[in-house]
Amino acid sequence: MPPKNVSIRIDGELISAREDQTILEAATASGKHIPTLCHLAGLTPVGACRVCIVEAQGTDRLLPACTTPVHEGMSVTTSSAKLARYRRMTVELLLVERNHVCSVCVSNGHCELQSLATELGVTNVRFAFNYPKLDVDVSHPRYVLDHNRCILCSRCVRVCAELEHAHVWEVRSRGIHSRIVSDLNAKWGEAQSCTNCGKCVQACPTGALAEKGRAVEEMTKSSEKITSLARWRGAEA
């Protein structure tokens, strides 16, 4: 039985959506923009970054658009002073958590965190910077993992598990000490399960995963290829 269609309102506009869609999918399908960060179309949404939060009538809670399913009669607001304030706060917190030095980053100019900051008008950070000491894993022959630039969106974890089925990546520890790890905390170059496919690098929104040999601003990524691949696989299945 094909999914039913439901009517919802996004920012006042009446929209028709499939009942198995999320708010984000419904919005995107009708050309509405909701800012996202950890989300990558084609991968299972996790609702971790909270950038895509929206307000919905009938609840005091803010809902992540990427994981919340639509339902008949739902009315969603995607931008408000409060949402803007909270989204900016998220970007500020990411900027202070690790060492995002855009000027010397391979992804400068192509980074989703950087462009999100610009989109949301984040020009300064009110919190003290953590400046943690973090490792850079250069053991892989073709790629680099720089923890300084990682925002723990888990796209690499998901793309590797869901599309490559290699399960190289996981998140270890918890809280502020969370880190991306390959295999059982092996160096990436020594991770036996890695197929060197590079999907994680393409999925990574920042310069945390990059190709070796790229200089500042040279690392462009094609996350849309991940989305197409997922779609193709989905159709195949």
Partner: protein, 1052 residues
């Protein structure tokens, strides 16, 4: 044992079980929960076991769970056939012999007897142990248990948790049997709904509705889960429930599994609860054996199994989606809902998750029905809730109370109030996700809605009581540190938000926080609450938000004044004594200098910290001693006595001029600024001294003919000889302070004139006005106010008092009046409406007054004063009071009983409080507070009028000498800062070099106290009662200091 397949087999087991619980021979049980074991219960159990074997006594020994009174552990219980069950407290292994001996002679060891249980309502059954032992209180007469209602804990402490027969014996598994026989699944769900049982895990969702969702879900397999991942700091309800009564949980889950159509149950418990895991393992094994788990349960065709899964002790796994992830073998990280577990739970199947305590309420609801259940509790929250009451109360333990019970019942009635008379200031409910509730709100009934309204939550039932030794900023920091380390790190608000919150709170507790930090903290907290993915992050800011809301002043203290009143934040205090001293005297320093025999240096250092050292050395309330860490070893250092000796030795000697020169060389160059001080009492003198030392031109005005204020005119000479005071005032005068006496500021000199003539004015006129009370008979001859009475004596005037003097009130002025009356040959009786321990007077003075023959009548409030025909006092009538509920001061309210008592007397002294002169206050045009005191900025002491500062009793209300001086000191610094636009304070002080060594192994040495004149001698003269220490004693006393100032420095 064959599996039970029919009712007669079930009844056989029941009979056998009951015979075990109430055997025809003596039965001894030992509380063997984790709490009991921690206090040594295992040793007690073995001692019983050996003694019974050795002596061949015909008695049954069993281990049971915890009965709740953890503060009295180890708990044991003894019962002779036909007699009540008697609980014994604080039982040690070496008590066992005499307990058994007493038991064999049919008696109960009296000193260990705690309470008795004559009959017990197990809800599913009822036991009558027997009646007797009138000398032992019934369990519900003990304050700790009064008002408790045991539904969840109904079996804990009575039955052996490792024996399924005992559980069945007291009516266990009967509810399950009846449900299986009736087969009416919907009606059970209806019952749970009608009972309005709410989830005991914290969120308070209606359990019946949750059950209905799962029952209606269509799937080939459904799961039910018991969430036993209890991890809140200070909470151990679930642990003790399972340790004491594991089958109760299994029965609840079996009923739930049956009516919701599940085939498997899982108990998720943390591995840190090994005894719980053991008890559950044993219970499940026995349940299998008896046909209560597995296939065809009780022969009714129901298949169900329960498995225990041990979690790794991750706090976030208490969140249901994280718990499910953990069960599936993944890292315990939550996922957004929807879908809810009832739709898509464990392995994608519909799943119901309930807290341990929720399951414990199921059998009672099935057995007694929803109406019975809903009788207990409040309208929206029915039933009882188990709380772990811990922290700064006298009686701690597990408490099961009807929902809706006010907080103060927990704290003052069950907990029996603060430890060692400390003032309780807050209670923290709901653990790391909850908040702190201030004592002004202790009337609040405990239920889901009310706690939420105060910014806290019920949570799983943790209650941590805090007193004046707890810093609320540090408490908030502690809980954030906890959630910070337990955050899973998945969502940004929780992961980074908590990290930033913790860093900001660390800055504030280190004394380098700013107002901007507090703003950011507040914004972050709201952000985390609204944006976090799961309950952990959403509720983690609650401790901060409630601390900001209810204890904002403590944040200000840390940020503006760099002070932590509780003395917890070590960077902000030199030592506990210094921190508690209103003058912040560097106590370890003068003690160290005295110890090294450098009395001149000690004097210099001390005088610059406190310009009335000899007076305070006699009359100070010495808060320093209550915080002295030496008392953990033997007794606190007698700081005040050393202080006095150092002051006396030089102030009263012919080296006065030399010492004055030493002090005055610290004086700064003249600034050309003029400051007026109104009032020459402790606050005024202190401010004047420091302002003069800072180089200002200071003039002090006082309406009295001499300086000293209360020190001179209210404190009698037998406590403070006036020549001592004279020398101190001389020193202050030498610093350049000018005095103008017999001039009343406000009438003789107008404030406007002061404003014209001076750059700043400090008002410290004290509280000399007797509180206006409408006391019947106030106008009679022979009725005096305490202050006018003491003042007249101080001036050496003749006051006519009779033979029998009645004093009303119990503050220092009352005690001084009584002792003065005794010295004039009269009999003195003090009447007070509360009890002795609530008296505000200094304990030593009360004790001395008693020795001298002052009588005390407590629980007596003044009713009226009776006069004779010529208008002289002839008697006083008092009303007997009884102590009622606790008020916000943490003391019981005296309630008049109506019983009038008459006491003959010819003089009455009213010592019931002083207040600021209202006439002056209103004429001054300064903004006042509700209580009539002058309203000033807490930190700068600036009043509503520019350049006018105020401090001492006039701002704080009647207080004590050192507190007033502390405010005088604070005012001097603040006035100087305003006049000079710079903080020049530190320039007054110089460094002293002295030994910086912490005594490694301090030997016990007794505290020295000044010798007192014999009561019989001193009651007849005005001579000073307490003598100074000898120099040797003072040296030895100084050596007792543990040098906490260095210990604190070492930690950082």
């Amino acid at each position: 044992m064959p599996r039970i397949q029919d009712i007669s087999a079930f009844n056989d087991v029941r009979e056998a079980g009951l015979a075990k619980v109430m055997p025809p021979v003596p039965r001894v049980t030992v509380g063997m929960g984790t709490c009991g074991r921690g206090a040594g219960a295992e040793g007690v159990y073995h001692a019983f076991s050996e003694a019974i074997d050795r002596a061949g006594i015909d008695a049954v020994l069993a281990s049971v769970g915890c009965f709740g009174a953890c503060y009295e552990e180890p708990l044991a219980a003894v019962r002779l056939p036909g007699s009540p069950l008697v609980l014994l407290r604080r039982v040690q292994a070496n008590d066992v012999g005499r307990i058994l001996q007493d038991l064999s002679s049919g008696s109960i060891t009296p000193d260990l007897a705690y309470c008795k249980v004559e009959q017990w309502d197990h809800v599913t059954g009822h036991l009558h142990y027997g009646d007797g032992y009138p000398e032992i209180p019934a369990w519900d007469e003990v304050p700790f248990f009064k008002g408790q209602k045991k539904i969840v804990l109904r079996n804990c402490g009575f039955i052996n948790p490792d024996d399924i027969e005992e559980y069945i014996g007291i009516g266990g598994y009967q509810a399950l049997y009846s449900v299986l026989i009736d087969g009416a699944k919907e009606s059970v769900i209806e019952k749970v709904k009608a009972a309005k049982l709410r989830g005991r895990g914290g969120a308070g969702y209606l359990t019946g509705n949750k059950w209905e969702f799962l029952a209606k879900a269509k799937a080939d397999q459904k799961f039910i889960i018991c969430n036993a991942d209890e991890g809140d700091p200070g909470a151990y309800m679930n642990r003790n429930e399972i340790e004491g009564d594991p089958h109760n949980l299994l029965e609840g889950m079996l009923i739930g599994g049956y009516v919701m159509g599940a085939t498997r149950g899982i108990i998720y418990v943390r591995a840190e609860y090994p005894l719980v895991v053991h008890r559950l393992g044993r219970a499940i094994e026995q349940a299998h054996e008896y046909g209560l788990l597995g296939e065809n349960i009780l022969g009714r065709g129901f298949d169900f199994d329960i498995e225990v899964v041990q979690g790794a002790g991750v706090f976030v796994c208490g969140e249901e989606t994280a718990l499910i992830a953990s069960l599936e073998g993944q890292a315990g990280r939550p996922r957004p809902r929807p879908p809810y577990p009832a739709q898509k739970g464990l392995w994608g199947k519909p799943t119901n998750i309930n807290n341990v305590e929720t399951w414990y309420n199921i059998a009672p609801i099935v057995t007694r029905g929803p109406l019975w259940f809903a009788q207990t509790g409040s309208a929206k929250s029915s039933g009882t809730k188990v709380f772990s009451l811990v922290g700064r109360v006298q009686s701690t333990g597990l408490v099961e109370m009807p929902l809706g019970t006010p907080l103060k019942t927990f704290i003052y009635d069950i907990g029996e109030g603060g430890i060692a008379g400390r003032e309780i200031k807050a209670i923290q409910t709901g653990g790391a996700s909850g908040g702190c509730i201030p004592r002004e709100m202790f009337d609040t009934p405990v239920d889901y809605e009310n706690l939420a309204q105060l910014g806290s939550i019920m949570g799983s039932g943790g209650m941590v009581v805090m007193d004046e030794d707890n810093c609320m900023v540090d408490v908030a920091r502690y809980f954030i540190e906890f959630t910070h380390s337990e955050s899973c790190g998945k969502c940004i608000p929780c992961r980074v938000g908590l990290d930033k919150s913790l860093r900001i709170l660390n800055r504030i507790t280190e004394g380098v926080g700013t107002a901007r930090h507090v703003e950011l903290l507040d914004e972050l907290s709201h952000y985390m609450r609204e944006c976090s993915l799961c309950g952990l992050g959403q509720s983690a800011p609650n401790p901060v938000l409630t601390a900001l809301r209810h204890f904002g002043q403590e944040f200000d203290d840390h940020i503006v004044a760099h002070r932590c009143a509780a003395g917890v934040c070590e960077e902000l205090a030199l030592s506990p004594c210094e921190n508690s001293c209103p003058l912040h005297i560097n106590i370890p320093r003068f003690l160290a200098l005295e110890k090294e025999g450098r009395i001149e240096d000690a004097f210099e250092a001390m005088f610059l910290d406190n310009p009335l050292p000899a007076s305070t050395g006699r009359v100070c309330q010495h808060q320093c001693e209550s915080r002295c860490r030496r008392q953990t070893l033997d007794e606190p250092v007698n700081v005040r006595a050393v202080h006095r000796l150092v002051a006396d030795s030089l102030l009263l000697s012919d080296r006065f001029d030399e010492m004055a020169a030493r002090v005055l060389r610290h004086k700064l160059d003249p600034t050309g600024r003029k400051v007026a001080v109104a009032g020459a009492g402790p606050a005024g003198l202190t401010a004047a001294f420091y302002l003069a030392m800072l180089g200002h031109d200071v003039t002090v005005f006082d309406e009295k003919p001499a300086a000293g204020g209360m020190l001179r005119f209210a404190i009698p000479t037998y406590r403070l000889p006036k020549d001592v005071l004279e020398r101190e005032i001389e020193m202050i005068a030498r610093a350049g302070v000018k005095f103008i006496f017999n001039v009343r500021v406000g009438t003789d000199v107008l404030l406007n004139d002061l404003d014209d003539d001076f750059d700043a004015v400090f008002i410290a006129i004290g509280t000399w006005k007797q509180a206006e009370i409408s006391q019947a008979g106030r106008e009679l001859k022979g009725v005096y106010g305490a202050l006018p009475f003491l003042e007249a004596l101080g001036r050496g005037e003749e006051v006519r008092i009779g033979r029998k003097v009645a004093i009303i009130g119990a503050g220092n002025a009352a005690i001084d009046s009584a002792r003065a009356a005794i010295r004039r040959g009269a009999e003195a009786t003090v009447f007070y409406r509360r009890g002795r321990k609530d008296m505000p007077a200094i304990e030593e003075e009360t004790h001395a007054a008693e020795q001298e023959g002052t009588k005390f009548v407590f629980l007596a409030a003044p009713h009226r004063i009776l006069g004779d025909d010529s208008g002289n006092v002839k008697a006083i009538e008092t009303v007997k009071t009884s102590l009622g509920e606790f008020d916000t001061s943490g003391r019981r309210k005296p309630i008049p009983t109506g019983e009038i008592q008459r006491h003959d007397c010819d003089t009455v002294i009213l010592a019931i409080g002083e207040s600021i002169d209202a006439e002056f206050a209103h004429a001054s045009d300064l903004r006042l507070k509700e209580n009539g005191s002058i309203d000033v900025n807490r930190f700068t002491l600036e009043s509503s009028r520019g350049h006018f500062f105020a401090g001492g009793d006039v701002t704080s209300g009647a207080s004590n000498v050192s507190s007033a001086m502390g405010l005088g000191k604070q005012a001097a610094r603040s006035i100087d800062r305003q006049l000079m636009e710079a903080d020049r304070w530190q320039r007054l002080f110089s460094e002293f070099e002295y030994e910086q060594v912490v005594p490694e192994e301090p030997a016990p040495s007794p505290r020295h106290a000044g010798r007192m004149l014999e009561p019989a001698v001193r009651a007849r003269c005005q001579a000073e009662v307490v003598a100074a220490l000898t120099p040797e004693e003072a040296r030895e006393e100084a050596e007792r200091c543990l040098r906490c100032d260095l210990a604190a420095a070492n930690v950082t």
